[in-house]
């Protein structure tokens, strides 16, 4: 069976048959986002606890900052947990993972789309760079400065983590959460706005940093502000590309994989 392309005059925001009807509804979306939030917090706290037990860090707020050095590796556990919840939701709703990725897309369309996504992300990169410069000057922003991994973990963070992130994160927010919110709210732009805000807010948790005896809220705000334009752009592109996720996943993999590689090679931080 072949997919019929939607008529040219139709708005791009109409939910498509490729998105499975979700019996679990918005509750499933809340479980998914809640799992990610809980895992980000739980894994970093767990690593901090291990560091204290191993005696490699002081008590107080220091263990959290020391544990933050592992946040890129923590991401693999968060994304595995995300994939597990997506699998559970799919079993309950009777859908398939492939259908979450949108209509069939040829390899050349994925490649061309990914180049387009990267080009469309340039304004977001410019904004993020200016914000970083305004907040931290010439210094490396904390989420990169804190990364300090042994060689094996560095290789893992370059080869495995970015791939897992693409299989889980955009699929969770754009493939699972967004259609459920659209179904519930009936207004795609409201659903998209909520997704972008929640998705950006989640970034405040990786990593959680402590400063002056309390949580570093300034860093959390910077983190949210620096990713917001990227997430807004990618969500808009999801609609513009007819709900095709693969070009967005490919472009994000290039950006995140490149950043991880630069960190591992000591080019950043």
């Amino acid at each position: 069976m072949t997919a019929t392309p939607p008529p040219a005059g139709r708005p791009a925001v109409r939910p498509q048959p490729s998105v499975p009807a979700a019996a679990t509804g918005v509750g499933g979306a809340v479980v998914l986002v809640g799992t990610r939030v809980a895992l980000w917090l739980g894994v970093q706290l767990g690593v901090a606890g291990l560091l204290v037990l191993a005696g490699t860090t002081a008590t107080g707020g220091q263990p959290l900052n020391d544990a933050a050095a592992w946040w890129m590796v923590d991401g693999a556990l968060v994304d595995l947990g995300t994939l597990a919840v997506i699998g559970w939701l799919l079993r309950r709703d009777g859908g398939s993972y492939r259908r979450l990725l949108g209509p069939p897309t040829a390899a050349w369309q994925v490649a061309l789309g990914a180049v387009g996504v990267l080009a469309a992300s340039v304004p977001a990169m410019a904004f993020s760079a200016e914000l970083t410069s305004a907040v931290y000057g010439d210094a490396t922003p904390p989420m990169f400065a804190v990364v300090d991994l042994p060689p094996l973990a560095s290789v893992f963070s370059v080869l495995v983590v970015p791939l897992l992130a693409e299989l889980a994160e955009p699929v969770a927010y754009l493939g699972v959460v967004l259609p459920r919110l659209e179904q519930r709210l009936g207004r795609p732009w409201v659903a998209a706005t909520i997704v972008v805000v929640v998705w950006a807010a989640e970034h405040a948790l990786y990593p959680v940093m402590v400063s002056g005896g309390g949580l570093d809220l300034g860093f959390a705000a910077y983190r949210v502000g620096s990713v917001l334009p990227f997430l807004a752009t990618w969500t808009a592109l999801y609609y513009a590309l007819g709900r095709r996720l693969l070009p967005i996943m490919a472009a994000r993999w290039a950006v995140n994989g490149g950043t991880a590689l630069a960190l591992a090679l000591g080019q950043v931080g």
Partner: protein, 151 residues
């Protein structure tokens, strides 16, 4: 067939372009003819308004399609990006961020610019997809029956 989304995105991009030109007027830096005697990127960028008006008339008449709009949006995105972002930018972000008091207004103007370029780029991709779909639909459509053909 005309796309309502394409119309809306075109109006949005035109409104954002107007807002960015207003930002130029308020800052009064990096402006050119007709405000000064110098012909520069500002002057060239004003071509966008007659281009959009002509394009809308031709689109309504069925003379141009999404491919035309993809070129206009993509060309606009490349032009504005080249002028404002990157190492060779003639009007880098500092020229916007550093010319407002209070500074938050500079950030608003810069956010507007970033959104404007993103809208152009996203619109270009949407129009490219629309153009590709129309081409596929035309190719898939059965050939028209000739006048003299027999049943």
């Amino acid at each position: 067939m005309h796309s309502r989304t394409l119309y809306r995105l075109t109006y949005l991009a035109a409104a954002m372009s107007l807002g960015h030109h207003l930002d130029h007027l308020i800052r009064h830096n990096a402006v050119g003819w007709p405000l000064t005697g110098q012909v520069n990127a500002f002057t060239i960028s004003l071509v966008v308004y007659p281009a959009i008006a002509t394009g809308l008339l031709l689109y309504r008449a069925g003379r141009v399609g999404p491919g035309f709009w993809a070129l206009v949006s993509g060309g606009g995105a490349v032009f504005v990006s080249a002028v404002h972002f990157g190492p060779a930018a003639v009007e880098p972000p500092d020229m916007i961020l550093g010319h407002y008091d209070p500074p938050i207004l500079g950030w608003l103007a810069f956010t507007w610019l970033v959104t404007f370029v993103a809208v152009l780029a996203i619109t270009c991709l949407y129009e490219t997809r629309l153009w590709s779909q129309q081409r596929q639909a035309r190719r898939a459509a059965p050939p028209a029956t000739g006048v003299g053909s027999k049943r």
